[in-house]
């Protein structure tokens, strides 16, 4: 087994993590939390979303959050943007990177974006062009790469088509989403074998949800395939409002526990992140799903989440 010496974590907790939470975290608390993350050694933070607040009320304070944080040099701050109206809002702030998104499966794309895949392409083409014109970096997400909650299996050709189209538009990096957490390590290997023939490993990220507990195993398989960029969410927050049964992203805490134990460098300070997990857990008022956070928290005298 061969693993890389270091990897890059893209922390999506403040966006993917919070967007699905029932509790509204105040703008002040969001800013305080993101400022903690900025000081943790994590170099990439997706901090909010400029999706219509009607759809994601939890992030309706996107401008105030993006404008209110203390940016740390060397950290890239990203916001999710669905269309030009969202981009206009995003450009009122000082974010560094714009993330655009669509699905590999037609039905999930329709439910999530209210457009067919074919009708989504021109929207994203404009978005990527305007983002790059403004001197910002553009990142792409493909959802439902490993399965769709409506269609089941997703054809690899659909993934290739969306991926190639997004790269042709000019995105710098593509994040492959297991939106509903159905992937297994063999499938990860098979999908990456196909995609790595077309795209270099350093432009692909993996975005696993831990709905069935397989996220770290899937990351291990990805590492062995040469992938070095992973999206994760502090505490295991997250989900997708349009994907029934989708639970949180893989927890940054669990990912760091595994990687640091394996001697793989991430640059992140686990102790600082445990404090940041404790902060957001208190604000949310529920136990975070991350097992290694709960174990660390228990050893620090806190409550243990999942056993007596």
């Amino acid at each position: 087994m061969k693993w890389p010496e270091s990897i890059t974590i893209k922390e999506v907790g403040p966006r993917d993590g919070l967007q699905n939470e029932k509790a509204f975290i105040s703008t002040e608390d969001k800013i305080a939390w993101i400022n903690q993350l900025s000081e943790s050694g994590l170099k990439h933070l997706e901090i909010t979303s400029f999706v219509n607040p009607k759809w994601i009320p939890a992030l309706s304070d996107a401008i105030a959050v993006a404008a209110g944080i203390k940016k740390v040099p060397g950290v890239t701050y990203t916001a999710l943007v669905p269309n030009l109206q969202g981009l206009e809002q995003a450009f009122k702030t000082n974010i560094d990177e714009v993330a655009v998104f669509m699905s590999a499966s037609e039905t999930h794309n329709l439910k999530n974006i209210n457009k067919t895949i074919g009708a989504t392409f021109p929207v994203l083409k404009d978005l990527v062009r305007e983002t790059i014109s403004a001197g910002k970096v553009c990142r792409g997400y493909v959802s439902t790469v490993f399965g769709c909650p409506y269609e089941g299996d997703v054809d690899i050709d659909a993934v290739i088509r969306v991926s190639e189209t997004l790269f042709d538009m000019g995105i710098a990096e593509l994040s492959l989403g297991d939106t509903i957490g159905v992937a297994n390590p063999k499938q990860v290997q098979e999908v990456l074998e196909v995609l790595l023939k077309r795209f270099p490993a350093d432009r692909l990220a993996m975005h696993f949800h831990d709905t069935r507990g397989t996220a770290l195993a899937n990351i291990l398989a990805s590492l062995e395939m040469g992938i070095t960029i992973f999206d994760s969410s502090l505490g295991g927050l997250g989900g997708c409002p349009y994907a029934p049964g989708a639970s949180g992203n893989v927890a940054t805490d669990d990912l760091l526990y595994m990687l640091h134990g394996m001697g793989i460098h991430t640059g992140a300070d686990q102790q600082k992140l445990t404090s940041a997990s404790q902060f957001i857990q208190e604000k949310l008022g529920r136990l975070l799903p991350s097992k290694s956070f709960q174990a660390a928290s228990s050893l620090l005298g806190g409550k243990l989440g999942n056993t007596v």
Copy 2:
């Protein structure tokens, strides 16, 4: 990446799973649950423990349970036995296999068995001999192989010494326990590289707890090292009363989800096991930790455990 075509699961839920639960499951319910497991395609069930009921009150009905179940031909029924008094009790029932146990770390062995490692060897020697004389199979457990809650790192030489001594006594198989769920895949690889030079792969089992969410990743690493026997607990039940912070065993449900998705044969019927998880969840009155069970349960209209 190379994986085996089939593996063997040793279901430890009725013993390791229930021993740490606050709720006492009635003898009738235990028997009904084990009978469900017997019909699930699982071929190895550790059904109870003949440890002094003063220490494990949850399993104080060991004789009644072992005598009350409906044994299915082809299924091996195992009981955990600490000493000759326990063996005498076990022999009042019709179990097929006796599991003996000790730790690789001195302090955990003292806390768990109330004896030094040196003083434990003659006890187990008598146990293994009497078990084999009675025509039963004897299985061994080594705890704290990957870390001790009291001592931290555990020397691989201590693991080798205990393992060799147990095999010399005549055990058929040795289960390597990550009692407090601290292992990572690189450590698994390193420990197995050493042990597989001394013992054949088909006589080693892995027993992972999922305290930090790494159990399936550790199993993936074990599969790549040629291991084909895994202990798991339905629903992710389990823990160790003498290991602070130790959460449940890896969930059989999650393990099957991953393995079946990878095309690895286990012989188990996931649908029947989901029903058995639902049964024991209702009896325990708390949500089971298994993520894939909760996802399956949610899709069936039940409650989802770890997200909104």
